[in-house]
Symmetry: C2
Subunit: 342 residues, 2 copies
């Protein structure tokens, strides 16, 4: 099988033979082969055992015509070695035992060396690269400080981010210290991932859309910028992603990233205009369209491709992760559809 | 005490002596006097007993220098008489016993006459008006079809609206039938509220920001427009509110409403530009700013007032409801601050 470099070419805004496509959470609960492994192992087991994580990373590459693999892992893995233990609880998502709420809590966190304490992730990367045999590139990833801090402070998922913002507004020094630690660790972690073999990285600032543009500039941007600089220095393409970011995209683009990810709340052409045509763009189908009738899903995908208008630098993806109840055949049909439109 | 008509004047974009202010959820859990009543009565008891609902509606008028009262009630009250029973469960919010999921479920719903089956709400309005003695105007409200449908279909609050959108995309006729029922009932309900004495109405489409602009136009707008028309015909000012609506505001404004509500994700001046200066605007402080230090809250409020730039037609409010953990004195200080800035 030949080498598929559509994804990497699109990241660099080079012409491609077809729009590259991959999906956030392309390895996950919607796949029966993933559920079979999950029946015998916890999510953290899979993340921490390189053989299992490798197997799961490769599942969508074998089943769906994607142009990139993404490391199977979790944004929160780095919390435990920092001194913030957590677990995944069925029906609730991540639960942090002792959320970070005070200056003292932050003072007791520890910096650590991802090459040592997340070495299992780096081992997964080496194994995946070997198994992929160059079929498609491998994407690594990590969370951005705002999103990581929101989990650490709230103790799990949140709807209002009240505790997160209360710390941000009330104890800005504590906030910046916490985010600075995240930035250092995430920067090191991404560099280590690239050294281990990932060929692009995505920075997930999934929940940053909860911030006003001014708060984004003050509380999130400086830390995310440090990570983007560290990632840029590795030389691999960097994707900068968030949801609900219609009013943040311009600023996110100035912070950096070769590719900016956008969600369905903003039409792709409007988003591209905001971030500038000197950047590539990734997105932006509503994941719920994959639950419904195929014709409507194709219409949605077709609309996005029309808005991309054949301009080099579009990577097709959803605006957020594939939902667990998504039929595999719809994901397969969507990848085929996107590839067939040029 | 004189009549305070700042709020109504601002709705009509007439000059005012100070920017009018009221707060979504200004009656609620952050107030000790509300918690005292809740200790003895359920939320639904309070909504359904005019004496209690009146008492709660008036609490913030007595304690905080607001320029309008808003009826204490709940968006979901109309579900029960339609045949969708629900309850509020501690820590979970509303729980709908049998969510609406199929064409058959929708066929079994019933239209009803709000004047009969929600007569307790109308009685509350009459009582509140009497008690207010014209001190400040009274705002009535109801939910918009997308937001109501999302509760009815998901069975409670949701993060992805997966079941809602799956029905919308998969069974558009069923979706439109359901929303059409909501539009008829809500239209009648708002007219009945005005007849009973409310002097303005707000339409809450709180969760509509989950939709793309195209989906908003197809699935939400036609139904909300019918409600806005019915409300407009009453002659009282109509406020049209949602969150996460940066990319929907233009369309929301074309749908109608004398005042468009915006949240903190978009700067107030940008939002006003989008909706047009021929409309009034309501908003848009991040409610979490009321949890933190006063100086930062004032800075945020000051920034909003600077962006409003003294243009007639700004009603100060938060971008969403007051959070339960908010100190009462911060709400008081914010109202005083807003009034003192002109």
């Amino acid at each position: 099988m030949g080498v598929n470099d559509r994804f990497l070419r699109a990241c660099r805004r080079e012409p491609v033979d077809a729009t590259p496509v991959w999906f956030m959470r392309q390895a996950g609960r919607y796949m029966p082969e993933y559920r079979a492994i999950r029946a015998r192992h916890t999510l953290l087991d899979i993340c921490r055992q390189p053989e299992l994580a490798t197997q799961v990373t490769l599942q969508p590459v074998d089943r769906i015509d994607v142009d990139a693999a993404i490391l199977f892992s979790d944004l929160l893995l780095l919390l435990a070695p920092m001194g913030i233990p957590f677990d995944f609880v069925k029906g609730e998502g991540p639960v942090i035992e002792r959320p970070v709420r005070t200056a003292d809590d932050v003072d007791h966190l520890r910096q650590f060396e991802p090459r040592d304490e997340l070495s299992h992730v780096l081992e997964t990367i080496r194994l995946v690269r070997k198994e992929l045999e160059g079929r498609v590139p491998l994407i690594g990833f990590a969370g951005a400080p705002f999103t990581l801090a929101s989990y650490a402070i709230e103790g799990g998922p949140s709807s209002h981010y009240a505790k997160t913002k209360a710390l941000m507004y009330g104890e800005p020094k504590v906030w910046h210290k916490l985010c600075d630690m995240f930035a250092t660790i995430v920067g090191d972690y991404l560099v280590a991932q690239v050294e281990a073999g990932v060929q692009a990285v995505q920075i997930f600032d999934s929940w940053v859309g909860a911030l006003s543009p001014d708060d984004y500039r003050e509380f999130a941007l400086p830390h995310t910028s440090r990570i983007l600089e560290a990632a840029k220095a590795t030389g691999v393409p960097v994707i900068h992603f968030g949801t609900g970011t219609a009013t943040l995209l311009e600023t996110m683009a100035t912070a950096g990233g070769d590719v900016i990810g956008a969600d369905w709340r903003i039409p792709l052409d409007d988003a591209w205009q905001l971030i500038g045509h000197d950047r590539a763009i990734q997105g932006n189908l509503d994941p719920t369209l994959l639950l419904g009738p195929l014709d409507r899903m194709m219409d949605g995908a077709g609309d996005i491709l029309r808005r991309a208008a054949g301009r080099p630098g579009h990577i097709f993806n959803l605006g957020h992760g594939i939902l667990p109840e998504t039929p595999v055949e719809n994901v397969q049909a969507l990848a085929r559809f996107v590839h067939g439109q040029r």
